[in-house]
């Protein structure tokens, strides 16, 4: 333990992080997760911290178009990736159809899981378009990934909502998926 002091010094790296089409030159502590970099360094607080361990989905963002939990993603590994957060879903001032559908279906209450639900839904719809199965698809022996409500429920189960807005979330996503 005599070298503890040395070991406690943060290790930093310079990198460029691309978020919602904007490149941010930053110096990161190697320990920083994407979630903390977004929230604490770039003031992009849309992605939420609900558990910090990949167990709730509130921090979901898209990395190169794929949904991931940003709380388990080290920022330092993302130098050549494109990140999309909830702040980047709209087309200029026009909200993404999912954002509009969430408001109309009241698919949110406290709103804290909502950015993660939205990013997850965007990623999920892309997965379905690519023909990816879920366990509902695979259990049924089907290769057709038609997004009925059971499929949406299973595919969105990585995003917990404690307010219990699930039925409205599913309705909102189903409407956009159609």
């Amino acid at each position: 333990m005599n070298d503890d002091e040395d070991l406690s010094a943060p290790v930093t790296m310079e990198m460029r992080l691309s978020v919602n089409g904007i490149g941010y030159p930053i110096t990161v502590d190697t320990r920083e997760t994407l979630l903390d970099t977004l929230r604490e360094r770039l003031d992009l607080t849309g992605a939420k911290k609900g558990c910090d361990h990949g167990q709730c989905g509130a921090c979901t963002v898209l990395v190169d178009g794929r949904r991931v939990t940003s709380c388990l993603t080290l920022t330092v590994a993302l130098d050549d990736r494109e990140i999309t957060t909830v702040e980047g879903l709209a087309d200029g001032s026009v909200p993404h159809p999912l954002q509009t559908a969430f408001v109309r279906h009241d698919a949110l209450q406290c709103g804290y899981c909502t950015p993660g639900q939205l990013c997850s839904a965007v990623g999920m719809l892309a997965e379905a378009r690519a023909g990816w199965p879920s366990i509902v698809t695979a259990d049924g022996g089907s290769v057709d990934a038609r997004l009925d409500e059971a499929e949406i429920r299973e595919r969105m189960s990585g995003n917990l909502c404690r307010c219990g807005a699930y039925v409205n979330i599913v309705a909102a996503i189903a409407e956009v998926a159609r």
Binding site: R39, H53, E87, V103, L108, R162, C163, G164
Partner: protein, 695 residues
């Protein structure tokens, strides 16, 4: 005062802050940017009972970025208040494992968290007792139970009546500790300056938090400002003040810099409250035709050694059914456990699981349909007080629900309906929640441009309060929704009660109504809006102080269909349907969300939720969202909520009852009753996990 035809109230207005929330612009507590801020990482106790002998801060202080380490030996002194849980870092005593005993303040989150792991703490460990049991020698009768109700109530001679009853049910039901787990963990940004203390906090009540924190620091409430425009859920966990906000304020005081503190999900299982586990014995005596002669409901529950929280588990039994002989009791034991607090429908949720399961058992014993049994025991007046009900439409809810759910042709025989490998069953339970209302203040202002601003320190924790208050104001002012701004979530606004006890809309809405009425009168008197605008203020203390001559409660009926896998015992809900009688529904869209949200949490309570207390270490072991299961999307198929027309002039100007909690009440019993119908197995201890159904 005049009434107006509703225009906005009763319509499905979208949430006024909906767009902010779906675009990520809505700022929650931890997200308010402040110059020069630093991060706090608390150090929790790793023993359940004892004393902190020494805290070695030397190593942590050598860490880069670390600014300070606070513990009871160097923390600023706090004034004593009623709740000793808030005397953070004031004493070496450890009352429960996970209690905050130190805090590290550092320049970055990473530095603070790592240094917190390296704070050396030496304890004098004492033997702990964390086991709740019905025969615990230290059980006692609390003076009052939450919110301020008698612990025991007896009428008639229930023991004799039970002994003489031709049909009886005598069963023990258990509910586990459950944790609220709002998606947003408790978080605070604390800043001291010349004016005093500013707290950006995740709270259900800006005014009440301000009033709780100020005396700890020996300052006037006017020197504390609590700002909470958006709150990521609470379900009671952000109602009473808890240690983290005090710790953040202490750390900011000591360092002289703004401090950010977010409770980790793991720490939330120790320091932010939870639903007490209960052991409940229910005894019912009845005639063979189902008419009750006696109801006895006894509850045993826990609190911590540091603070008494006595939950009102058996109080719903006082008003539910007619029976001449009745007794309801509460017994508490103070253990070396974290302090329990409010969790959505404290008392009603676990209490009605027991009562409504017992009623299902009685229906079977009498050979009666469970809906008919309840109808036969419908009381004329409140059985406890003898007061008339301001409105009571339980029977209408049961009948409407039965029709919508398709109850009529139900075969009561358990364990006989198969679909593939599933056993299918249906169940029903009643629901109830009391009407509470608190005094508030509000202001309403007319601007010359035709815009109106209503101010009140209300909270929108996801209930839709901001939206509904806007609708109420618009109607009283007789203007379109778009011309009304409602400012909430800030203690600098007129004082308001907290979002709890399903009382928010009733309390705040009354003040908003009165303020807007007064403004309208003022504008009438002046013949229009003056060029400088005009503001009026109201206070509902007097109006709220008038005692009601009525028993006021909301009621509902919950229906569930479940499927139980015959091979694995996995029970899944196939559909839930609730019908509620809650006075006037002010916004059907957000109201429906409240109902289905409560029912979803009830489903989760029925099948999944249990905080597992570790006997050896004294903490809640499964302290994260991978181990403590809350319902995921796949657990929640069709959930439908409806309401019956109910006109009740004895409530408030809006004619509304609270809707935030009633959705969870009765759901677990409906599911458990459905599981019994499916399998023939009566599960009396929640949650209904597969090992209890495996045959």
């Amino acid at each position: 005062m005049t009434t107006v035809a509703a225009r906005a109230v009763g319509t499905e207005a979208d949430r006024v802050e909906g767009l902010e929330k779906v675009t990520g612009r809505a700022r929650y507590a931890f997200e308010h940017p402040i110059e020069d801020m630093v991060y706090a990482a608390p150090v929790p106790s790793v023993v359940a009972r004892g004393e902190v002998i020494a805290v070695d801060v030397a190593e942590a202080l050598t860490f880069p970025g670390v600014i300070d380490v606070l513990w009871h030996g160097n923390a600023p002194k706090l004034e004593r208040v009623g709740n000793a849980e808030l005397h953070v870092l004031q004493s070496p005593r450890v009352a429960y494992r996970g209690q905050y005993i130190a805090v590290v303040i550092a320049k970055t989150l990473e530095e603070a968290r790592e240094a917190a792991l390296r704070v050396g703490v030496e304890y004098a460990v004492e033997r702990h007792d964390v086991g709740l049991r019905a025969d615990h020698p230290r059980l006692y009768r609390p003076e009052r139970v939450n919110p301020d109700l008698p612990a025991d109530v007896q009428q008639g001679d229930p023991d004799t009546a039970l002994a003489a009853a031709p049909v009886t049910v005598d069963a023990v039901y258990r509910t586990p500790a459950e944790h609220n787990n709002p998606m947003e963990p408790h978080a605070t940004v604390a800043r001291w300056d010349a004016e005093g203390l500013t707290l950006y906090d995740s709270t259900q009540g800006a005014t009440s938090l301000r009033d709780a924190v100020a005396p700890l620091f020996g300052i006037e409430p006017s020197s504390v400002r609590v700002i909470a425009p958006h709150v990521g859920g609470g379900f009671g966990a952000k109602g009473e003040p808890h240690p983290p906000v005090v710790l953040a304020a202490l750390a900011a005081r000591r360092t002289g810099r703004p401090v950010k503190l977010a409770v980790t999900r793991q720490q939330m299982f120790s320091v932010t409250g939870y639903r007490t586990p209960t052991i409940q014995r229910v005894r019912l005596g009845a005639h063979p035709d189902g008419h009750l002669t006696a109801i006895v409901h006894d509850a045993v529950e826990q609190s911590s050694t540091i603070h008494e929280f006595a939950e009102q588990t058996t109080t719903p039994t006082r008003i539910m059914y007619a029976a001449p002989n009745r007794r309801t009791t509460h017994r508490l034991v103070r253990l070396d456990v974290p302090t329990p607090s409010w969790m959505r429908a404290p008392g009603e949720a676990p209490g009605m699981f027991a009562l409504e399961s017992a009623m299902d058992e009685l229906a079977a014993a009498c050979g009666l349909d469970p809906i008919e049994l309840r109808i036969r025991n419908e009381p004329e007046v409140d059985p406890e007080t003898g007061l008339p009900f301001s409105s009571r439409n339980l029977v209408a809810c049961l009948r409407d629900g039965a029709r919508r759910f398709g109850w009529a042709d139900r075969d009561p025989a358990p364990g006989v309906r198969r679909r593939g490998r599933l056993l299918i069953g249906t169940g029903v339970a009643a629901s109830t929640y009391p009407v509470y209302r608190s005094a508030c203040q509000a202001t309403a202002r007319a601007e010359p441009g035709g815009i109106f601003t209503v101010r009140i320190a209300a909270a929108d924790i996801g209930t839709g309060a901001r939206t509904v208050l806007t609708q109420i104001a618009a109607d009283v002012l007789r203007v379109p929704l778009g011309r009304v701004r409602v400012a909430i979530g800030d203690s600098a606004l007129p004082r308001a009660s907290l979002a709890g006890g399903s009382s928010g809309t009733a309390s705040w809405g009354t003040a908003v109504t009165r303020a807007c009425e007064a403004l309208r009168d003022e504008l009438d008197r002046r013949g229009g809006t003056p060029s400088t605008g005009v503001t009026v203020s109201v206070d509902t203390t007097e109006e709220n102080g008038e005692p009601s001559r009525f028993a006021r409660h909301a009621f509902g009926a919950q229906f569930a269909e479940v499927g139980v896998d015959r091979d694995t015992g996995e029970a899944r809900v196939r559909r839930l349907l609730g019908v509620f009688a809650v006075g006037r529904v002010l916004n059907p869209k957000t109201a429906r969300s409240q109902f289905i949200g409560g029912m979803t949490m009830g489903l989760s309570m029925a099948l999944l939720e249990e905080s597992v207390l570790d006997r050896e270490f004294g903490d809640y072991l499964n302290h994260d969202l991978a181990q403590y299961h809350v319902a995921a999307c796949a657990d929640v198929p069709a959930v439908e909520a409806y309401w019956v027309e109910e006109s009740d002039p004895h409530l408030n100007p809006m004619g509304s009852k609270g809707i935030g909690e009633i959705g969870i009440v009765g759901t677990a019993a409906a599911v458990a009753n459905a599981v019994h119908h499916a399998t023939g197995i009566r599960v009396r201890d929640l949650p209904i996990r597969l090992d209890k159904l495996l045959t």
